[in-house]
């Protein structure tokens, strides 16, 4: 097991324990420390999700920027859904397109696919090597480069810095 994966898993579990208990008493903190030290050893013998995470200051700044972009896109996508659903003629133009990604690390790809699913009008169907197949509710371009630019590049520039 890589130490970085273990460390991040430990921090994540400990924070979740504190949030669940919602208090900072001594016994709760000690018990949480014990549990979150033991659990990654038991469950993640072969895990490697967090291994490629970049912990430099720039990456942390970019992750906040990414979160901000993502939330804006999420709200935008909901208004998009609302517009489509409420208009009587149901203006959709669906199709399945292919886009390319440059990301190699696993957690980066997971976050990219999740963000594609939650942004306006797109839904990840499958990841094969470097291509992602996306169901697009309103196809604007069938070309690979063009749709990559429209769908992926907005997030990828942050994720590339965060996960290398």
């Amino acid at each position: 097991m890589k130490w970085k994966n273990y460390l991040i898993m430990f921090i994540m579990l400990f924070v979740i324990w504190l949030l669940l208990n919602n208090s900072l008493e001594k016994e709760i903190v000690l018990l949480g420390l014990g549990i979150s030290l033991v659990l990654p050893f038991l469950l993640c013998g072969k895990c490697e999700v967090f291994t490629n995470l970049n912990l430099s200051p720039k990456a942390i700044l970019y992750s906040f920027l990414f979160l901000f972009t993502f939330l804006i896109e999420l709200v935008k996508s909901n208004f998009d859904v609302a517009r489509r659903v409420l208009s009587p003629s149901l203006p959709i133009n669906p199709g399945i397109v292919e886009v390319k990604t440059k990301l190699k690390s696993k957690i980066g790809r997971v976050i990219l696919a999740d963000s594609i699913t939650l942004t306006p009008g797109t839904l990840t169907l499958e990841l094969i090597d470097d291509s992602i197949f996306v169901h697009w509710i309103d196809v604007q371009s069938v070309d690979v480069q063009e749709s990559t630019k429209l769908i992926v590049s907005n997030f990828e520039k942050y994720l590339e810095v965060m996960y290398g």
Binding site: I16, L18, L19, L20, N21, N22, L74, V75, S77, N78, V81, A82, R84, V85, L86, L90, I92, N93, P94, G95, I96, V97, E98, A113, D114, T117, L118, G121, T122, L123, T124, L125, E126, I128, S131, F133, H135, I137, V139, V142
Partner: protein
């Protein structure tokens, strides 16, 4: 007065969240095929639940922890489950609607299949020789 105002803002945010939930289910009802339904349902139910929880957080700020865990959990799991479901729907050949413009994945799979068939043919020929 101050806390009262916060509570009222929270109530309105919760109403906005429930309206998004309603829009999602209307989308679920109106869309023509399974993939579009998954799109409408997932997006609206994710943001709707998150907004409801944020609105309730304004009313009871001391419940911060549970709301935060729930929001994170919904945000991580909902896209994953919809992705797995959409992939399953594609594999069991749930029909796409007639409005569909293009299906790149099918082309990709066809190319893959034909390449494999070609390789098999070459191999058989070699064995034949």
């Amino acid at each position: 007065m101050d806390t009262n105002l916060l509570e009222i803002i929270g109530g309105f945010i919760a109403i906005a969240g429930s309206i998004f939930l309603l829009l999602g289910s209307i989308g679920l009802y109106r869309m023509p095929d399974a993939y579009n339904r998954i799109q409408a349902g997932t997006k609206a139910s994710t943001l709707g639940t998150i907004l409801s929880l944020v609105g309730l957080f304004f009313i009871f700020p001391s419940w911060f922890g549970k709301f935060m865990v729930l929001i994170l959990f919904v945000l991580i799991t909902n896209p994953v489950s919809s992705h797995v479901l959409a992939r399953a729907a594609y594999f069991i050949k749930v029909p796409l609607t007639k409005l569909t413009q293009v299906d790149k994945w099918k082309e990709h799979r066809d190319i893959d299949e034909s390449r494999k068939a070609h390789l098999r043919k070459v191999k058989i020929q070699k064995e034949g020789e």
